[in-house]
């Protein structure tokens, strides 16, 4: 009697859905995706693309101008600027990516958990997070790094912890809404563990909201690593990093040479590209309700 049975066609496969999704992407999102893909390609294949080595001193002339041999000239030690730029993509992007993932996992898990438990535990975690957020990030990072020494693991860890507070806030707020729904209660009655409920019942439902935050935070992490390197406490030489490349060659600007602006522009372009993609994803996520 239920006439609506089989009224709808069986859902298409994941691949078809992904392809269809891609077809509906606006121009900005496609542009963003292409740019991100180029960055990823350069980062992964840096050793094959770069004309010279990362720390190889190839010229006796520091701050050499653009030439056929050194397309973007050389830096303060006579290393090939273009090669450093390419290797810089690899270092900066991979560190930012790892940091984002750690902060995402930590913040979301804690946020969803906190929302589900409620009561004292929730209050304790939330107030601790408030305290962390109230200290200016850059000062906090500088302080920690000067105490524990500025190694890359330390850098990643401290930025990840500080960024996770943002993920915590947003995922906790979203999870509070989901936690009041019947299917979460049904899972409790079924006897599921809190971890299982967090991961299987709540997390997939708050993900679209957090996804947008993920892209934004990636950009901010990228920028703060660059800023720290610019200040000299981030990624240490001789590793190539865009922020430190700006600092080391900043003097050139006074001479009317735009070379040091290129790594800065690379940072900006990546940030814009990621945001284009994220914006579109966010749009999709908010429209999800229409489709049910």
């Amino acid at each position: 009697m239920d006439q609506s049975i089989d009224a709808r066609p069986a859902p298409p496969s994941r691949l078809t859905r992904a392809r269809r999704l891609l077809a509906t992407a606006p121009f900005t999102a496609r542009l963003g995706m292409v740019l991100v893909a180029i960055y990823a390609f350069v980062a992964i294949f840096a050793p094959w693309i770069a004309p010279y080595g990362e720390v190889e001193v190839v010229s006796r002339i520091p701050f050499d101008g653009w030439s056929a041999q050194h397309l973007l000239g050389t830096d303060q030690l006579g290393r090939d600027f273009l090669s450093r730029l390419i290797f810089g993509a690899r270092n900066s992007i991979s560190i930012a990516l790892v940091t984002t993932m750690i902060s995402f996992g930590l913040g979301c898990l804690l946020g969803v958990f906190s929302a589900l438990i409620g009561g004292f535990v929730d209050q304790a975690i939330s107030r601790f997070v408030d305290a962390l957020m109230s200290v200016p990030d850059l000062i906090f990072i500088l302080m920690i790094l000067s105490i524990f020494g500025n190694s890359i693991p330390n850098l990643i860890l401290i930025i990840a912890v500080l960024t996770s507070t943002r993920f915590f806030r947003i995922s906790r707020a979203a999870a509070l809404n989901v936690a009041s729904l019947d299917f979460v209660e049904a899972a409790r009655v079924r006897g599921e563990s809190l971890l299982w409920i967090s991961i299987h019942e709540v997390f997939p439902n708050v993900l679209p909201l957090i996804l947008s935050e993920l892209g934004m935070r990636f950009c901010f992490i990228f920028l703060s690593i660059a800023a720290l390197s610019f200040l000299g406490v981030g990624i240490q030489p001789p590793l190539a990093e865009w922020g430190s490349m700006v600092r080391d060659n900043a003097a050139l600007i006074n001479m009317g040479d735009i070379t040091p602006l290129i790594p800065a522009a690379s940072i900006a372009l990546l940030a814009i590209a990621v945001n284009f993609v994220v914006d579109w994803l966010l749009n999709r996520a908010s429209g999800l309700n229409e489709e049910g």
């Binding site: 009697m1 049904a186 009655v189 006897g191």
Partner: protein, 540 residues
């Protein structure tokens, strides 16, 4: 109730409305024609999604965002509503044509007094002075039988009951003496005993003020009391239109006939007493409170193996709370509960997994009870993995068995809840409960969100499942028709206490407890004239 011929107040001709879904327009109203004369009430009946509300709103010249009229005409008195600009249409709304929504709670602004909200349109657009408007409002309050009509308007929305608020909204609609009122399921959200009062009031003002009305509902019994004519809508088309008496006696269209489905379900034969002597759940002197407020007191309840106990009462009677106490979601404040001879631990955490398996709960709204991001396979498969440790092919086999049991099949396993109809979603929720292999299933209003036809199917299926599996049901409901169809025993609750319990036939047969009497008397008959008899009985 005869209506003399007079010029049409509303004339809808071949109305077509399209709605945008993802990227394409699809027709949701397909050539509807209706006409309505002064003093006439037209019932608009159909299931959810049939286009009732869309047609009702079109009578106000209003289209929901994302919808457009692609053809036809809507004439109100001498105005073609689809041809005039939105600004002029807005001026007509509230003055010439008015709307009464389903939820008065949502329609009133909680921070303003009722009188301010009710008279606003009359003062702004109706050309009445504030004093005139207030005088008229008080007259309407009186006609609507609201308590203390002189001072009723001074209250805030939260200070009056749901039924009173619904009547206040009728007053707001009537304030400018409109030619047409559209009632959109005005009593659906109310309890049966309140529904009668609101129905009587609505009937009275419609007759007194001679207004034409469209009454949208999915409940035929209600429409029989209030409408002169009924139009049955399905998939955006009028499948049958006839005077109320003839449609009640001889529904022509097969679809119209199917709307009687639940009503015509035979009452089940209650399990013979003694056959279910083994008590599965017995509760003694149980109480529960929220803070200092006592929601449950002195509850004695016994559910036998394979027995269906219906828990009946109005909203706020504590029936859902009792279900939650049994499920372990709310700790009782006192009393004793035995499940299968052993004490039932009050808190969820104290219950072993196997005990959780044996008591399952099905919720009213499958929309919120199913995780929208899990496929049917994941939803139904989880209890199989958790309780029975089934994996791989064995789990898949059992999964398909379960889906078949609830009259779905393996083609549904891959779908997300959003890709299923309301009835199918509730079936998935039932399959999830069955997957645990329970002995007691708490069914909290599981059919009240479903359309009548689907409701009957689900109930029939639940009866069949009980016979096959020997489970017990605690059926929480406010719908007497559902109780008739499914219950062995009936427990009537009011104000957190059980006022009457016993075999179904005994509870439903006179003499009744006063409250049971009132509850039973409030359920509209599927026949014309029931409300007239009630009104006559009150006058006498």
């Amino acid at each position: 109730m005869a209506v003399e011929p007079s010029p049409a107040v509303l004339e809808i001709r071949d109305l077509r409305i399209e709605a945008k879904s993802s990227d394409s327009w699809s027709e949701i109203v397909r050539g509807v024609s209706l006409s309505l004369r002064k003093g006439e009430v037209l019932g608009l009946v159909g299931e959810s999604g049939a286009g009732k509300s869309t047609v009702g709103l079109a009578a106000l010249g209003y289209l929901r965002p994302g919808a457009r009229a692609s053809g036809g005409s809507v004439r109100l008195l001498d105005t073609e509503l689809l041809a005039i600009p939105e600004e002029e249409r807005r001026r007509l709304r509230g003055t010439k044509v008015a709307y009464v929504a389903q939820s008065a709670q949502a329609a009133f602004n909680p921070v303003h007094r009722l009188m301010d909200q009710i008279t606003m349109v009359a003062v702004d657009r109706g050309g009445l002075s504030r004093a005139e408007a207030e005088k008229r409002a008080v007259a309407l309050f009186t006609a609507l039988q609201l308590p203390d009509p002189q001072h009723f308007g001074a209250r805030y929305p939260h200070q009056v009951s749901g039924g009173q608020l619904q009547r206040a909204m009728v007053a707001m609609a009537m304030i400018c003496n409109p030619a047409l009122i559209v009632f959109d399921e005005p009593t659906t959200a109310l309890d049966v005993t309140t529904q009668v009062e609101v129905l009587i009031s609505i009937r009275k003002v419609i007759e007194e003020f001679g207004v034409a009305a469209i009454y949208i509902t999915h409940d035929l019994a209600v429409v029989a009391q209030i409408a002169h004519r009924v139009a049955v809508l399905r998939y955006g088309e009028v499948v049958e239109e006839a005077p109320i008496a003839s449609i009640m006696d001889h529904p022509e269209h097969p679809y119209t006939q199917s709307l009687w489905a639940v009503h015509e379900m035979p009452a089940n034969d209650p399990a013979a007493e003694g056959a279910s002597a083994a008590a599965l759940l017995s509760i003694e002197r149980l109480g529960a409170r929220f803070g200092t407020f006592e929601v449950l007191s002195d509850i004695d309840l016994r559910i036998g193996r394979g027995e269906t106990v219906a828990l009946v009462g109005e909203s706020g009677s504590g029936k859902s709370t009792l279900g939650r106490v049994i499920a372990g979601l709310k700790a009782p404040s006192g009393g004793r509960a035995l499940f299968d001879g052993a004490a039932l631990p009050p808190k969820l955490r104290q219950r072993p997994l196997d005990l959780l398996r044996r008591i399952q709960i099905i919720y009213q709204s499958a929309d919120t009870a199913l995780n929208p991001r899990q496929t049917v396979r994941a939803i139904v498969g989880r209890p199989l993995a958790l309780y029975q440790g089934l994996r791989g092919a064995a789990r898949e086999k059992r999964l398909i068995e379960l889906l078949r049991m609830v009259e779905l099949d393996e083609s549904h396993a891959e779908r997300l809840p959003g890709q299923l109809s309301g009835g199918q979603k509730q079936r998935v929720a039932i399959a999830r409960a069955l997957a645990a292999g329970p002995e007691l299933i708490i069914c909290d209003e599981i059919t009240s969100a479903l359309d009548k036809v689907v409701q009957a199917d689900v109930l029939r299926m639940m009866i069949g499942l009980k016979e096959r599996l020997g489970v017990s049901y605690l059926f929480i409901t406010h719908d007497i028709e559902v109780v008739r169809a499914i219950a062995d025993r009936v427990v009537v609750m009011q104000h957190g206490r059980i006022v009457e319990q016993g075999e179904k036939d005994r509870v439903f047969a006179p003499p009744h407890e006063p409250y049971t009497e009132r509850l039973l008397a409030s359920v509209p008959d599927m026949a014309v004239g029931w409300l007239d008899r009630i009104i006559a009985a009150r006058v006498a």
